[in-house]
């Protein structure tokens, strides 16, 4: 299992490496170097690439508040001749945006909580308890994270329809919850397998049962790992496309990304509506990115395995 051990090292290394890296960077930054024209060329090249990568988003903002005729006459690169909020209003009304927002929010929160909780339980049994065959079970979870959704979608579709959950948001909560759990179990188990034994023994001597040890000893130490997982699961579920496309078929159940996607080709989707709709649909993702940027960068290797 050198794959899993290398991944484990990667992840554990990451958490401490980030701090170390920052320190090294600070030290090296303090050293003054002689002027060199090359360094500006390289900086400009890197900034230019960033601008190219962000250009679709600049185009979006630039054209979100322009009238259709303004766009037709002056093209995508001009500033809007007047601020026009018609696109935004159209999109807001057509999608009933607050409902979509609420749907996305509660589905993602509940699903992420579910997967973090189950991952914690699984990892407690596999990483700390080393129940029989735990190495195999962890390997199985790793394989399951790679399974394509197509490989089990139809039986799921049939099953959920048979129990009358065809258009229920709980399908997404459960499916994303379990898929993300497979990933979280894999990750947390490897972190927990290095959990200090002395702490567990001490808890046992104090007469704490498994349940109390989990919440009193293990969870407080694993809290930051769980938080990173929660943030990732939240974003993955928020962005989920395939399963929501198949299960959420009516307007009142859909999520934000699905709502805008299902308006594709609709008559109301003129250029300002497309851009204003994209803009407002991206606002939550952006805010999330800004707030959790540090945690995200720390935990992205967690995403590395997905």
């Amino acid at each position: 299992m050198s794959m899993s051990s290398s991944v484990k090292n990667t992840i554990q290394g990451r958490m401490t490496a980030i701090e170390r890296k920052d320190q090294i960077k600070r030290e090296t930054a303090n050293r003054r170097k002689p002027m060199n024209p090359m360094r500006w060329v390289i900086l400009v090249a890197c900034v230019l690439l960033a601008l190219i990568i962000l250009s679709p988003l600049f185009l979006m903002v630039l054209n979100a508040f322009k009238t259709s005729t303004d766009y037709t006459q002056n093209g995508p690169l001009s500033l809007p001749s007047e601020l026009y909020f018609g696109g935004l209003v159209n999109f807001w009304k057509a999608t009933n945006f607050p409902i979509k927002f609420w749907n996305s929010l509660w589905i993602s929160v509940v699903s992420a909580l579910l997967s973090v909780g189950l991952s914690l339980f699984n990892a407690y049994a596999l990483g700390i308890g080393r129940v029989r065959g735990s190495a195999w079970i962890v390997a199985l979870f790793m394989i399951l994270t790679m399974l394509p959704g197509e490989g089990f979608i139809y039986p799921l579709f049939y099953m959920f329809n048979a129990v009358g959950m065809g258009n229920s948001q709980w399908t997404i909560v459960i499916i994303c919850g379990i898929i993300n759990m497979a990933f979280g179990t894999y990750l947390l188990s490897s972190v927990m397998s290095t959990f200090p034994k002395e702490l567990l023994e001490a808890a046992q001597i104090d007469g704490a049962g498994r349940w109390r040890t989990l919440w009193g000893v293990v969870f407080p130490i694993m809290k930051s790992n769980c938080a990173v997982l929660f943030i990732f699961f939240f974003i993955w579920t928020w962005n989920e496309f395939y399963f929501t496309l198949i299960f959420l078929t009516s307007g009142d159940t859909q999520t934000i990304p699905l709502a805008i996607a299902s308006l594709q080709g609709d008559r109301i989707m003129d250029v300002p509506t497309i851009n204003a709709g994209s803009l407002i649909s991206l606002v939550p993702a952006f805010l999330f990115f800004l707030v959790f940027q540090r945690t995200l960068t720390k935990g992205i290797t967690a995403g590395a395995v997905k």
Partner: protein, 325 residues
């Protein structure tokens, strides 16, 4: 002295009690895996096996009758041109989601970490990294609709710019031309994927001992020499992780194709996941769709296994090398 003696004594005592401890330590954990195990079996394992079972049938879905036809669906696949198109398009997807982002990511992360970070400070390099990473966190439904507009032949931003500023008279139909559409899809995939290896590799580089670079620099090694002699070997584990995850993601890609082209024009951008999707939910050929999905799952398993074996071998070679040295 006395402290070592005590700790040795403790150790002996612990060893003696090890067995009892182990037994007590290990009991009572099993029940914690039960909820997760039930979920995995019901949501993933049973449906996966059922899907393979369905692939052996002719079935229109819903309440219609299932007819067992053995491997007929798979035999039909061999002669199905669209099936082969979809899987050969997967190679384009791997190029766009794994190969190109990997190569650009390697260079970019090394430049950001080793050069920009050093010359202009850590703030500059992490700001640039964040800029490269942003497309990764955008939902594909929204990014897809944006790109669909940008690439649109009539109202699209690119063609408007081409016509308005460069006076191009016959602007290309990016998503409607069977020769071009796959490259247009690849463009969006590269865009969305590029930040991922940059972030992974940059944090991997944080693990590398900076003294290695300083020693190499003192020996007069240039940037490229340091890149190939230090950076690449040091972050090998992360390179494998990126290759594995990006290749698997490329084989599974669905959202961008659905949003940009729906597999068209003339099936030129068809990918396996989309092909199985239209068989499931468009044509109601459930058995056939299940067969495509099963082939895809097996292919992903094989590709993942090959990459992992390759990585194991390389790690083993390294250990041997370390021992010999």
């Amino acid at each position: 002295m006395s402290r070592t003696a005590t700790s040795a004594h403790n150790k002996r005592e612990r060893n003696a009690n090890e067995k009892i401890y182990e037994k007590r330590l290990r009991s009572g954990y099993g029940r914690y895996i039960i909820p997760g195990a039930i979920g995995t079996v019901v949501i993933l394992l049973i449906p996966f096996v059922a899907n393979i079972w369905i692939s052996l049938h002719n079935w229109r879905g819903g309440r219609s009758k299932m007819k067992f036809i053995g491997l007929d669906n798979y035999i039909k696949l061999i002669g199905d041109e669209k099936f082969w198109t979809s899987f050969s398009n997967s190679i384009y997807m791997i190029v766009a989601m794994a190969v190109i982002p990997l190569l650009i990511g390697l260079i970019l992360s090394a430049v950001l970490f080793d050069y920009i970070g050093r010359e202009f400070g850590g703030k500059t390099s992490s700001f640039l990294r964040a800029c490269y990473y942003i497309p990764q966190i955008l939902p594909v439904g929204v990014a897809g609709i944006l790109w669909n507009w940008i690439l649109n032949s009539q109202t699209g931003a690119i063609n408007r710019i081409l016509a308005g500023f460069f006076g191009v008279e016959k602007t290309p139909d990016w998503l409607g031309d069977p020769d071009l559409a796959i490259y247009a899809v690849m463009l969006m995939l590269i865009w969305s994927q590029i930040g991922y290896p940059v972030v992974i590799f940059m944090s991997a580089l944080g693990r590398v001992d900076p003294e290695l670079y300083e020693a190499a620099a003192l020996d007069g090694a240039g940037w490229w020499r340091r890149f190939t002699a230090i950076t690449l070997p040091q972050i090998k584990p992360e390179i494998f992780v990126v290759v594995l995850t990006c290749t698997v993601a490329a084989l599974k890609v669905f959202g961008p194709v659905y949003m940009l082209t729906k597999g068209g024009p003339q099936s030129s951008t068809l990918v396996p996941s989309y092909y199985s999707y239209i068989n499931f939910f468009g044509k109601s050929q459930i058995g056939y769709g299940a067969a495509i999905a099963s082939v895809l799952a097996i292919l992903i398993a094989i590709v993942a296994a090959v990459i992992m074996v390759f990585q194991n071998r390389s790690a083993a070679r390294e250990r041997e090398g370390a021992l010999n040295a």
